[in-house]
């Protein structure tokens, strides 16, 4: 199902509201300016949490999206103020097949004082829910009311589409057409509505209008497989309608627009052949039916063509070809009957429904099955027909969802012992280490405080100017050692051996040069000292944070040693067992009903094929009799 444009609004509503603060904050490219961390506000937290939900929503992981919303609700992140989350949850409940839960949410929202746009949105959702449940009158009452005024253009199109479909179902074609004109035909919904409307008009006797609608779909560009298939379907429907009315040229023109490799190509070949046949051009009909005969013989149109091709030969006087054709048809019918028998046996086997499930649980599509395996079993073409039944498709959807639930429960069943063991290990580890850690953190905290005081003091004591009265303070390491020696020599000069005038002059020169050297780089050295002090303060701040983090962990760990998490985890086992049992029972019941549907379809096909086989045999016998009679007449000279 294509998701409506509602989601765009939901996103906009949330993102606009929740991102406003974040967007307003100056966001710089990381390697240019680091703005540093900010405190997480409630709105920013909601922005992240709802973004996560939207990620699951748009990747069609409905169950995960609902779970995230419920978890966030439980943690009070989403509450009465977050109408957008409530509305999305309602929508997800509808998709997940929980209409009662959805309606409760919509009703709750409608009782609240909410924005007019959100109110209109909620009414639209409620109408969609009624529509989906088949309560068309209630849906129409909402959709045709002022309650839904002020919707966005995409939502308005959705409203009109639903109204058009409801009026179509009631047989009010002109009313439906009025609404349909407001739905852009380029969208998937618009295409389907136009197709449905076209066919409904034809069925209601308004052939001209219906054909016009179907033909309006043919020039539209289509890129997706779904859109191309619908275009083929429209061309085929238009062609068949015209064929039935005797407009053979128009029929041929429409039928030629069906792609030769599309899902309706066999039907189109059969119908195109019929068009030529009706026009008296049997020679033109024959190659089309022969082409159809070469296709998959399990297709109903191919099965029809198997008898029509030899009949055309017969009418053209090609009796040997006709005889061979009927014999070939009989062979193919027998093969198709064997395929059906195999399919019937396969369907009866345990785990048949599991084979229909896609590998990817989030995959969406018409027939989400392991098609290769099914094609080998000869079931595929029958299953396509089966899946086109709304009831079967709904059952299969439920089967998929319950299967997903079973997988989830099995996952928890495996995880729960591991979680409980983790809890025990945590408890043992905490019991063993916590007293020692608690004792040590006090010592470390004192050390960190002392370090912080010292680094602060150091930072404050470094003057932002250079004072050469104490050269050692601005000397680098090498200079400081040198200065210490020279200064010591100066002080002790006279008491040392060799304390003569020449050495005194030499020492004074060395002292002067060293002082000059220290003074020369003193500014640079002072800057380095200031920088080092700043770094020390930063390190000290991080250490303080680390001490705080460890203290918090000790507090959490202490709480953990006293909590009842282990008990609460153990309590889940009975819930898991119960849901697993229920899901297995439900799956079995669903599989049984799906099997019954499939078997009924296959048996109907079996009967039809048996009739066709009998017809083929009769045709063979008839031609052989004619041939024998003809030979006898020739021999007797009559």
């Amino acid at each position: 199902m294509k998701r409506g444009q509602l989601k765009q609004w939901l996103l906009a509503a949330c993102v606009a509201g929740t991102c406003a603060t974040a967007q307003a904050a100056k966001v710089e490219f990381f390697d240019e300016i680091d703005t540093g961390p900010a405190e997480l506000s409630l709105e920013q937290h909601r922005y992240l949490a709802f973004g996560e939900v939207m990620y699951d929503f748009y990747r069609h992981a409905t169950f995960d999206a609902i779970n995230l919303l419920l978890v966030n609700q439980q943690q009070s992140l989403f509450d009465d103020d977050t109408d957008y989350a409530e509305l999305l949850l309602g929508d997800l409940y509808v998709t997940y097949g929980l209409p009662d839960s959805a309606e409760t949410i919509f009703n709750r929202l409608l009782k609240k004082d909410i924005l007019s746009h959100t109110r209109a949105q909620t009414w639209l959702h409620k109408a969609a829910l009624h529509y989906r449940e088949g309560n068309l009158t209630e849906a129409a009452m909402i959709l045709d009311d002022k309650k839904v005024d002020g919707l966005e253009p995409e939502e308005e199109a959705r409203r009109k589409l639903m109204l058009a479909n409801i009026l179509m179902a009631e047989g009010d074609f002109s009313g439906a057409l009025d609404y349909l004109h407001g739905v852009p035909v380029e969208t998937d919904e618009g295409r389907y509505a136009t197709y449905n409307m076209g066919v409904a008009l034809i069925r209601g006797g308004h052939e001209k209008d219906g054909l016009a609608l179907l033909n309006s779909l043919l020039p539209l560009s289509a890129s997706s497989g779904q859109a191309l298939a619908l275009r083929d379907r429209a061309a085929l429907a238009a062609g068949l309608t015209q064929l039935r009315s005797g407009e053979l040229a128009g029929a041929q023109s429409s039928l030629r627009q069906v792609r030769s490799d599309g899902p309706f190509s066999e039907d189109a070949l059969l119908a195109l052949g019929l068009t030529n046949y009706r026009a008296g051009a049997i020679k033109r009909a024959l190659p089309l039916w022969l082409e159809a005969v070469n296709r998959n013989s399990s297709h109903p149109s191919v099965q029809e063509a198997l008898m029509l091709a030899p009949r055309a030969y017969e009418e053209l006087g090609g009796m040997p070809q006709a005889l061979a054709g009927y014999k070939y048809a009989a062979t193919q019918y027998r093969e198709a009957l064997k395929d059906i028998q195999r399919a019937i046996e396969n369907i009866g086997q345990r785990g048949w429904a599991d084979n229909l499930l896609p590998d990817d649980v989030n995959e969406t599509g018409f027939l989400p099955a392991n098609t290769d395996t099914l094609a080998q079993g000869g079931q595929l073409s029958y299953l396509y027909k089966l899946f086109s039944s709304n009831t079967f498709a709904q059952r299969f959807q439920n089967y998929r969802q319950i299967h997903q639930i079973k997988s989830m429960v099995e996952h928890w069943e495996r995880s729960l012992p591991a979680l409980m063991e983790s809890y025990q290990i945590q408890q043992r580890g905490l019991g063993q280490h916590l007293p020692k850690v608690r004792q040590q953190i006090g010592i470390h905290q004192k050390q960190q405080e002392a370090l912080m005081l010292a680094s602060d003091k150091l930072g404050m004591n470094i003057p932002d100017y250079v004072d050469m009265s104490s050269p050692g303070d601005v000397a680098n390491a090498g200079q400081a050692i040198m200065w210490k020696k020279v200064d010591s020599l100066s002080r002790q000069f006279g008491t040392l051996p060799g304390s003569n005038h020449a050495n005194a002059l030499r020492l004074r020169r060395v002292r002067g040069l060293l002082l000059w050297d220290i003074a020369h780089q003193s500014m640079e050295q002072r800057e380095k000292q200031i920088q080092a002090a700043t770094e020390l303060e930063e390190e000290s701040r991080i250490l303080a944070e680390r001490v705080a983090a460890v203290s918090l962990q000790i507090r959490d760990a202490t709480l953990r040693t006293r909590d009842d998490l282990g008990q609460r985890l153990a309590q889940q086992q009975s819930r898991i067992d119960e849901i697993k049992r229920m899901s297995e029972d439900t799956l079995a019941a669903l599989e049984q009903s799906m099997q019954a549907d499939a078997l009924a379809l296959l048996r109907a096909n079996q009967k039809k094929l048996a009739d066709q086989l009998a017809e083929a045999h009769l045709a063979v016998a008839r031609l052989q009799d004619t041939s024998v009679t003809s030979d006898t007449k020739q021999r007797t000279g009559s």
Partner: protein, 172 residues
Amino acid sequence: MKALFSLCSALFLALYSPVSAASDDGLSEQIRQLKNQALDLNRDLTLLERELLYATPQTSIFVSVDVGTPIRLVDINLTIDGEHVGYHFYTDQEFEALTKGGIQRLYTGNLTSGRHQLEATITGYDPQGKDYQKTTSYSFTKGAGKKMLEMQVVDDLNNHQHKFEFREWNQQ
């Protein structure tokens, strides 16, 4: 010939299967009940699991992209302090979810407090199909509370490639 044209009508009828609500069989209530119970169980177990695994404040790293970006993100490889902590390959559906405003939680875990270095390598291709790979790094400090990091992959319109913007939050 009548048979042929009844065939044509049958074909036509087969083409039109109107939209109708699914029939409500006896299983429906059982299915609804089961779905509700499963949702409740999953919610409770998710909360219990979080309580157990993230008893101390965790670090989470999120990924988002520019809404409607024309540039396709293929995968992301994430390391923290040189250790590989996450990789994700984006399917078409997942990338579409990101471009519509979804935010993906790429990593959640317990990091020690103090400084950390995050490194992300992404591969992608531009609308012309040109491949490229880009690596970025970001330093952050984990304190006492929760740490949330959002890595936004934004379009660099000049180069038709991605660039990264980081946002960082602390939660006490």
